[in-house]
Symmetry: C2
Subunit: 201 residues, 2 copies
Amino acid sequence: MQYPEPIAKLIDNYTKLPGIGPKTATRLAFYTLGMDNEDVESFSKSLISAKKDLTFCDTCGMITEKDMNPCIICRDKSRNQGTVFVVENSRDVMAMENTRDYHGLYHVLNGVISPSAGTGPEDINLPSLVRRLSEHEEIKEVIVGTNANAEGEATAMYLARLLKPAGIKVTRLAHGLSVGSDIDYADELTLIKAVQGRTEL
Amino acid sequence: MQYPEPIAKLIDNYTKLPGIGPKTATRLAFYTLGMDNEDVESFSKSLISAKKDLTFCDTCGMITEKDMNPCIICRDKSRNQGTVFVVENSRDVMAMENTRDYHGLYHVLNGVISPSAGTGPEDINLPSLVRRLSEHEEIKEVIVGTNANAEGEATAMYLARLLKPAGIKVTRLAHGLSVGSDIDYADELTLIKAVQGRTEL
């Protein structure tokens, strides 16, 4: 027996989302039936709107509204124009901005170099970074804030080799213990990196 | 810093779903941006359609299309009209139908008696069951298939006390070991029930 078509279709659509299997999708679909009309309409509209009204900033690759391109950060001339923080995606920009501790510019790769997935430097928002650096000589430092995994490291290494010869300072975020964490819970690699990067008190 | 409004709104809408917190909602929203236009439109439409085109069967309370009321099971006169299987929700009907082993009718309570949540017999689809039984004297047995937890048991007890005096046979699904399960992994209550309900070989 099949579910009535309208709910079967909704279950099917929920299943397309990452990490949501048939059981969860069914639970979500039935939950949707019990939601207020307004909430469901708002949800339905926001799906279309997010897809239609958003784009990537022509300068940095960050997600932005179509009528705000370049994005709000690239437009802000009060920010330090000499530093570019390179991240994998727009969420990383938000995470960094929420620290309120960085006041330079960003460059969002919208991906990462991954030989195993067949993603090379040309497949991500990297050529535009090279162009940006050549057009803006005031940029003196590139901070590589890709994730601390194999692909993030590979991308960082690639960037360093590419940009250093052009006289740009390329730095990488520090590895070490999370603030507030216990040493005996840290993995070995993190501990080794924390010792290597130890600072004088 | 805030996300651009279209994605902030989508994140907000995802957060309204059960079991989805802000982090997952953000991940889903960004995933949505990368989906095909068609898929997003289908998703958007199916939300509205599920809400608009579905209703509960006037007879049994099961989810059904608005132009198919009573539902497809209630219309099927080839099914055994003498047995009603009472379940908590429409998903339970699907689970039972998928066994292809039951050929009677259903009654969906769309809830369960729960004194702690303040849900009484009148708040669920129970009065309609009583009406249905009085109108259809051919119904001889009610199988109570509510969940095997405190609320499901309470609902089962209530139904038994309500319907037995009217001469209707009220039965409950058997408790015992899951097929293929190990005895040493079964909880104590299940083991006790399995012994109580032991069958002769």
